[in-house]
């Protein structure tokens, strides 16, 4: 059985092959509690985006549109190179351009970050999703949206620490980068990585990508970027899309990349204690009511009550109340 491909540039297998990512490879499935453990463990993969090598050419964006056959709108220019202006159901990845004057060197730096799903090991989107099987995670780390199961509630948007998923106004389903799961399943690397002219995007096993990142970081250190580093945030259990950043001490410089992303505590509370306490409270109350209804003594109107009422109406009738 062929495991995940090692690099995006390697040519795809020419022999027909069966898909590599099946139901049996799921390690998480949204709104599904008893997921049978996968029969095998695929090698974790990762896409490494070396921001220091990226030239902002948007070939990755174009490749993503072509491969996924999306149709981003033709917008307008609002004084930036970031186009379209935001991720959308038709644009799963976006180059975000930031002009920053480095106070240490007084040099301008044009920080260009490829935004898109990070494929978190602990995905907030999946955690939030109420619909069984709308979001799945494969044992190689890919987090994928299964559109036919999606109800369009947008909880994934709130669950995601990176503001990634977008709900289509046309079909009301959530969309985001799939890490080209359909390509990876067939032994190919992601379309964006394949298109990237400078190999700022590389793809392979997560271990290989980390090693590659080490080399890149050394190179950056030698060029005066003392704080260069790998962005693989532990707050979400690490990610299967990682960045090499020249200023890894300040990820927020890169168009507000979270410095230390975690699934928001609000989301944790909402999907955690609220659910259990809520279900318990509702269940207990309902059960209590039913039990009390069956075993307790109902509050019945007594015969005397009727008589009192009757006599009150009749007896008091002609007199005092006339005043």
């Amino acid at each position: 059985m062929m495991d995940s491909p090692r690099t995006a540039v390697s040519n795809p297998p020419v022999q027909p092959m069966e898909t590599n990512l099946t139901e049996r490879d799921l390690i998480r499935r949204s709104a599904t509690q008893e997921l049978p453990p996968p029969e095998r463990q695929l090698t974790p993969v990762a896409k490494l985006i070396d921001v220091s090598k990226c030239i902002g050419c948007k070939a990755c964006q174009a490749a993503c549109v072509e491969w996924n056959d999306t149709n981003p709108e033709i917008g307008e220019n609002i004084g930036v190179y970031t186009n379209p202006h935001d991720l959308s159901e038709n644009m799963f990845t976006l180059m975000r351009f930031t002009e920053w004057v480095n106070p240490d060197t007084d040099n301008l730096e044009w920080l260009i970050r490829k935004d898109g799903c990070m494929h978190c090991a602990d995905p907030g989107c999946l955690k939030a999703c109420p619909s069984p099987g709308a979001i799945v995670q494969y044992s190689n780390g890919i987090v994928d949206f299964i559109h036919e199961n999606c109800i369009g509630c947008g909880y994934c948007v709130k669950g995601c620490p990176f503001d990634i998923p977008r709900i289509s106004k046309a079909d009301h389903r959530a969309y985001k980068c799939t890490l080209c799961s359909d390509r990876v399943a067939m032994g190919q690397g992601p379309a964006c990585a394949k298109a990237c002219p400078t190999q700022a995007i590389v793809f392979g096993t997560k271990d290989d990508m980390k090693k590659h990142a080490d080399e890149r970081i050394k190179d950056l250190n030698s060029r005066g970027f003392a704080n260069a580093g790998l962005y693989d945030p532990p707050g979400v259990g690490g990610t299967h899309v990682m960045y090499v950043l020249h200023h890894n001490d300040r990820p927020h410089l890169y168009a507000d990349l979270p410095d230390n992303p975690t699934i928001s505590p609000v989301v944790q509370a909402w999907k955690g204690v609220t659910k259990y306490a809520g279900l318990a409270a509702m269940g207990l109350t309902a059960a209590g009511a039913i039990l009390h209804g069956i075993f307790g003594k109902p509050n019945r109107v007594q015969r005397q009550d009727e008589e009192h009422a009757e006599s009150f109406v009749q007896s008091g009738e002609p007199r005092k109340e006339d005043a």
């Binding site: 928001s264 609000v266 279900l279 019945r300």
Partner: protein, 230 residues
């Protein structure tokens, strides 16, 4: 005499025999049941998204997509219908001194010693609590619901706000459901209550037992100026 029922569908006594008391006219009843239906649909649709155990409930609405789409609209119906109801009832649900004592002696109610409780107007403190509770949570639900209604209101708030809204929506939903259970159970436990919302009437004994002040007042008013009712 019996025509009076038609002329004043509410807050009037039908001498009978047996004595019946008109508690809600058809308008209010319709209003109530629209409200009740909405809330039940909301509860079912909301809970289907609340926990995977309950996801099967989406089938009631024609699948998850429809559930997601319908829920907020039903919420809007609930909101309007409840507040139409609200403006008719709110005065009578203002708390008074009797409510305090009633609440303090709630144990007597449960034990069946209702006689020991003060005489009450049209609503007891429990009902009032439910009334204001519903009001409060529906306000929260509509506010938070709109905040998370991304299909139309995506741009207006930040995700961080939406997260809080979602949490509060869930919490409010849970609490309103608790209230709802309480309300329905109270209506069932207190035998003879349901017909107030079905037929619009209660028996004289029911009124005497639970809302004596209200009953006495109606009885008095009935005699005060018959011509009024002509």
């Amino acid at each position: 005499m019996s025509e009076e029922v038609k002329k004043d569908p509410e807050d009037s006594i039908d001498v009978g025999p047996p004595i019946t008391v008109n508690r809600y006219g058809p308008g209010k009843r319709l209003n109530h049941w629209i409200t009740a239906t909405s809330l039940i649909l909301l509860l079912l649709s909301g809970l289907s998204m609340f926990h995977p155990w309950l996801f099967f409930l989406t089938a009631l609405f024609g699948g998850g997509q429809n559930t997601r789409m319908l829920h907020p609209w039903i919420g809007v119906v609930l909101f309007f219908s409840f507040f139409i109801f609200f403006f008719q009832l709110w005065r009578l649900n203002l708390l008074n001194r009797d409510d305090v004592q009633w609440t303090a002696q709630i144990g007597d109610l449960v034990r069946g010693n209702e006689e020991k409780l003060p005489e009450l107007g049209k609503y007891n403190a429990g009902q009032k609590l439910i009334f204001w509770g519903m009001t409060f949570f529906i306000l929260i639900l509509i506010a938070t619901g709109i905040t998370i209604w991304d299909q139309y209101f995506l741009e207006y708030t930040a995700i961080s706000t939406k997260r809080v809204a979602l949490l509060f929506h869930s919490l409010a939903a849970v609490l309103i459901i608790l209230l709802f259970i309480l309300h329905v159970y109270a209506a069932i436990w207190t035998r003879g209550t349901l017909r107030a919302m079905t037929r619009g009437t209660v028996t004289g004994g029911w009124a005497w037992r639970h809302h004596r002040k209200w009953f006495k007042e109606l009885a008095g008013r009935r005699r005060s100026d018959p011509a009024e009712y002509k």
